[in-house]
Symmetry: C2
Subunit: 128 residues, 2 copies
């Protein structure tokens, strides 16, 4: 298996190539949210639990560099930014959905109903 280099990133095989673009802790959560609508930086920060500013910024820069996400800046007051999926981004989100579905299935075999769990969480949040 050869080393391949695309855009200064080196990888060993096609799986490695994809996992470098969607792997790690934070890329999938960001991409998954953008499948629905565009998000502003602060919206992503609020909506993704546990993410730090540093990791959100780093994740967004890498997704832009890999051509999965588009960034639009609105210079007017108050200044803001909007992130959205590119067509390549939409393509990988389809894959993320497959990964997610397998995850849900295997978690159920471990006795965890993840969808019910987050539904319950949201209910409790609304009560606060």
């Amino acid at each position: 298996m050869p080393d391949v280099i695309i855009k200064n990133n080196r990888f060993y095989n096609p799986v490695d190539y994809i996992l470098q673009q969607i792997g790690g802790t934070w890329k999938a959560p960001v991409l998954w949210r953008l499948r629905i609508k565009t998000f502003r930086y602060s919206e992503l920060e609020k909506d993704i639990p546990h993410i730090s500013q540093k990791m959100l910024t780093k994740t967004l820069r890498e997704l832009e560099a890999d051509g999965l996400v588009d960034k639009k800046t609105f210079a007017k007051v108050p200044p803001h930014t909007e992130y959205s999926l590119t067509s390549k981004g939409k393509q990988v989100v389809v894959l993320i959905e497959s990964i997610r579905n397998l995850g849900l299935e295997l978690m159920k075999k471990e006795g965890i109903d993840y969808l019910a769990m987050i539904k319950e969480e949201k209910k409790n949040e609304r009560k606060k």
Copy 2:
């Protein structure tokens, strides 16, 4: 999104759950080979370029712990070991194939025909 813990591993969501089991540099290459046949330790080591003994051992231990791979030890002389996919392992290999296919597609858009590339490599190896 809650923290979920299964078998002492903590993760944030179903995608994270899967990527912890098949992500990293070496798990997919091992699983991908086992889809065809069982492999001995030394066969994997020879067949996977660049992998170190340390990472091969670590990868195999994690795949065993996650229930993706079975290990059989034959104590007789010469002693040897055989690794094979469990049914869960076979299930995730299906997903790895989807990831690989998307990888091949996106690499082609970057001008790289990976399959032709490795075919050429193997031809050169046989000449040696």
